[in-house]
């Protein structure tokens, strides 16, 4: 594709690379990776992108988007991957933001969008509930009307980074008599409200990303409801299909592949560079190939969305293949790290490779990606039903 860039596009690429050189480095990357410094460093990085006006490429221009062409977005993502720079957190910018500017009223837009863009407000997502898993229509959290407020009771689970969050966007049941999908509303809830409590969940990698969030008679103003009462499922669905698109993680996969290539060129195995192994080469070629195919698909889907279409079956496709690929690159990275991948870093080792820890952590954490955001089995059902009419 590169051969076809126009001179303007090449100029843009230079600008992006130069921005990254000046604003992102290994030190910042390390702080983003470490749990203790993760939040502050992530916000710092978002603010740099915000200052440049490059924080929300997918948003409409009137709300702060970049008015980029598909090719520009492609160039930008590619440059991020080259620089091994992570994307900004998705909860505000890719999840609740689009819901607010699409379905929210003017007051809500004015109140919430700025904090989402500049990183001042950290959001988390309140969908899943204990026992309900990916089955959102079975949700139990109830909101009872009391004057201008709702009173919320219930529990949300698998809430990523709730420990850092200022706000949560949540689905709650406002009508228990309606059909399961129809009595649900979409609320924005201040995490500092009285009655909100967060309990950590230690996950498979031994780290704390996930939480259980409990609502015990929490008061939420009706003004914090998005759109109409009992129509929350409609808004959530629109968000879900976008979320799945976001879940494909192509830029992340490219980044990991870059790292692996760089390190495998340095590392020796039995006297020659790891990268010279035909097996490693074949695995990299397989993944690169699948990744390219998926990337083109994503570009197509994004182009269709830009023209006003809603991603349907395609978003499931992206989620399914994207998460499979994420696990494939993580597994590859782990194998390249070899024995070094199995030792935790908190013991302050003097030996081994610094990327062993990254390999281990990402491999473990990545195990969830075929489960969350609607498990891959659910995605296949969606494709069979809505995509193929089976």
């Amino acid at each position: 594709m590169h051969a076809t860039y126009s001179p303007e596009e090449r100029l843009f690429q230079d600008q992006v690379r130069s921005f990254l050189r000046n604003n992102f480095n290994a030190e910042l990357a390390a702080r983003i990776r470490e749990p203790e410094t993760f939040k502050a460093a992530t916000i710092e990085w978002q603010k740099k992108r915000f200052a440049k006006g490059w924080v929300a490429p997918g948003w409409p221009v009137e709300y702060g988007g970049c008015a980029w062409t598909d090719t520009q977005k492609y160039i930008f993502d590619g440059a991020l991957a080259e620089a091994e720079a992570p994307d900004v957190p998705p909860f505000g910018l890719k999840m609740v933001g689009p819901v607010i500017y699409t379905f929210g009223n003017e007051e809500q837009k004015a109140r919430f969008l700025p904090g989402i863009l500049n990183g001042d407000t950290w959001w988390c997502q309140g969908y899943s509930e204990p026992g309900a898993g990916s089955d959102l229509v079975a949700l139990q959290t109830r909101a009872e009307r009391d004057g201008d407020d709702y009173i919320i009771n219930g529990t949300k689970i698998w809430t990523t980074y709730a420990q850092h969050a200022d706000w949560i966007f949540a689905l709650v049941r406002t009508d228990t008599t309606a059909k399961p999908q129809q009595g649900i509303s979409f609320l924005l809830i201040d995490m500092r409200s009285s009655g909100v409590s967060v309990a950590p969940i230690t996950s498979i990698d031994g780290e704390h990303h996930l939480n259980e969030v409990r609502f015990d008679n929490v008061r939420v103003p009706v003004a914090n409801r998005i759109g109409e009462e009992n129509k929350g499922w409609t808004y959530a669905k629109a968000l879900l299909t976008h979320e799945r698109t976001a879940l494909s993680g192509i830029a992340y996969c490219k980044q990991v592949l870059n790292t692996v290539r760089r390190l495998a060129a340095d590392e020796n195995d039995d006297g020659q560079a790891l990268l010279a192994s035909p097996t490693l080469q074949a695995r990299m070629a397989d993944i690169e190939m699948e990744l390219m195919a998926l990337e083109y698909t994503e570009l197509r889907v994004l182009a269709a969305v830009a023209k006003g279409g809603a991603p349907g079956m395609e978003s499931s496709l992206l989620k399914l293949k994207g998460t499979e690929l994420q696990q494939a690159v993580q597994s590859l990275q782990f194998d390249v790290a070899g024995l070094y991948g199995s030792v935790l870093p908190s013991t302050g080792l003097a030996m081994g490779h610094d990327y062993g820890d990254r390999a281990r952590r990402e491999y473990m954490f990545g195990r969830a990606c075929t489960i969350y955001g609607g498990s891959n089995e659910v995605q296949k059902n969606i494709i069979a039903k809505f995509g193929l009419g089976l």
Binding site: I201, L339, S342
Partner: protein
């Protein structure tokens, strides 16, 4: 499930050992995991009851029965209570046999009784910080000083590294003239210059103490050299088939256990109003895995029978290691996926099994190395066709 083949005595041994594990291991394993090390009394307790080392001759305190099925029972029952991170098999069947095979009668009399009783805990030190498992790249050196050897070098990833009282250390003995000359040295706790690094935290097998060991001009008396100090490389090779078989028994037991906890979960967990076990996807996946596990069990049991006759080749053992480690990883991966979000939580055993599993495809020879070993047999001139193999 095909019936298996154990003697009545072995069956009784199994029941007795199972009771022992329930009393001594089950109540403590979580504590050991948290502290990152098994209490060293555990070895003594097992020794007192005759469960630590079965094979040594009666004069050394063992039962003198070298039937490998006793080890298989120990491995299976230990895995069945999630006790795999107690490195009893490493002590009894990976390290102690070196003393048995290459030690003098004096050395056997001096060490074996206390190994059998659990007073002495064993480790073996081969891997080095930069050489990985590549024995040719080893840097540790022992210098012949007439009446003793002077041993220097660093070793890493040493299981039982903290608990061990007697460590078999591999070192080059004639690095200038003969890079393949290697000796095995019996280094005892308390010898001057023998230091231990900190206990390394690992992503799996958390109760196993894994450490770096430092040897700084340790004076090793001549009576602590195992066999010929130039033939250590050969000695290490000789044990490989058995080591891989031990691995295979362990990995397969892990796969069996992971299958069973997943099966239980699928029967209890309901999704969209139906038990997971009634979904066709679950049935197909579990049937495929059941088939592969049963097929693997027949192979491993057959390897054990052949090994009991002293006829197990390195290549057949490599097949067992390759097949079972890959199967274990497939099993825990599918297990986590079928568990959904629960599989991602530390409190469910499947998540711990997932963490333990991944490294099995890497240590003791990666899957790629196993394939090269097997390929040598496949393309050897003396390949025997299947009808002539009877």
């Amino acid at each position: 499930m095909l019936p298996r083949d154990f003697t009545e005595e072995q069956q009784m041994f199994r029941s007795a050992y199972r009771k022992f594990l329930e009393q001594e291991v089950v109540p403590n394993i979580d504590t050991w995991r948290e502290q990152g090390i098994v209490d060293r009394e555990m070895f003594k307790k097992a020794g007192d009851q005759g469960f630590l080392m079965v094979w040594p001759d009666e004069q050394y305190g063992g039962m003198g029965d070298r039937d490998f099925r006793f080890e298989q029972i120990i491995i299976e029952e230990t895995a069945n209570v999630y006790g795999g991170d107690w490195a009893n098999t490493l002590h009894s069947r990976l390290v102690a046999p070196y003393i048995d095979r290459f030690g003098s009668d004096e050395q056997k009399a001096r060490f074996l009784p206390r190994c059998v009783s659990g007073e002495i805990i064993l480790a073996v030190a081969m891997t080095e910080p930069d050489a990985g498992s590549d024995l040719a790249g080893m840097r540790a050196v022992a210098k012949d000083m007439g009446d003793h050897w002077l041993l220097s070098g660093n070793k890493t990833y040493i299981t039982n590294g903290i608990n061990s009282d007697l460590v078999i250390v591999a070192a080059k003995t004639d690095p200038e003239n003969n890079p393949h000359a290697m000796g095995l040295f019996l280094v005892e706790r308390g010898m001057e210059g023998f230091e231990r690094g900190r206990n390394l935290k690992k992503m799996g097998m958390k109760a196993q103490d894994t450490a770096e060991l430092f040897f700084n001009e340790v004076r090793v008396p001549k009576e602590n050299v195992l066999g010929d100090p130039s033939l250590g490389f050969l000695y290490l090779m000789e044990g490989l088939a058995e080591e891989r078989l031990i691995g295979a028994c362990g990995f397969l037991s892990g796969a069996q256990k992971a299958f069973e906890v997943t099966r239980e979960f699928c029967m209890q967990r309901k999704v969209f109003g139906k038990p997971l076990s009634k979904m066709q996807n679950t049935q197909f996946k579990m049937a495929e895995l059941r088939t592969e596990i049963d097929v693997a069990q027949a192979y491993v049991d057959q390897c054990v029978a052949v090994h009991n006759r002293g006829a197990l080749t390195a290549e057949d053992a490599a097949k067992a290691k390759l097949y079972t480690s890959e199967l274990l990883c497939r099993m825990v991966d599918e297990g986590v996926q079928l568990h959904g979000g629960a599989g991602y939580m530390d409190e469910y055993p499947i998540s711990r099994m997932y963490c333990d599993a991944r490294i099995t495809r890497i240590f003791a020879g990666t899957s790629e190395i196993m394939k090269l070993i097997i390929a040598r047999e496949v393309f050897a001139e003396n390949f025997v066709e299947f009808v002539d193999r009877a």
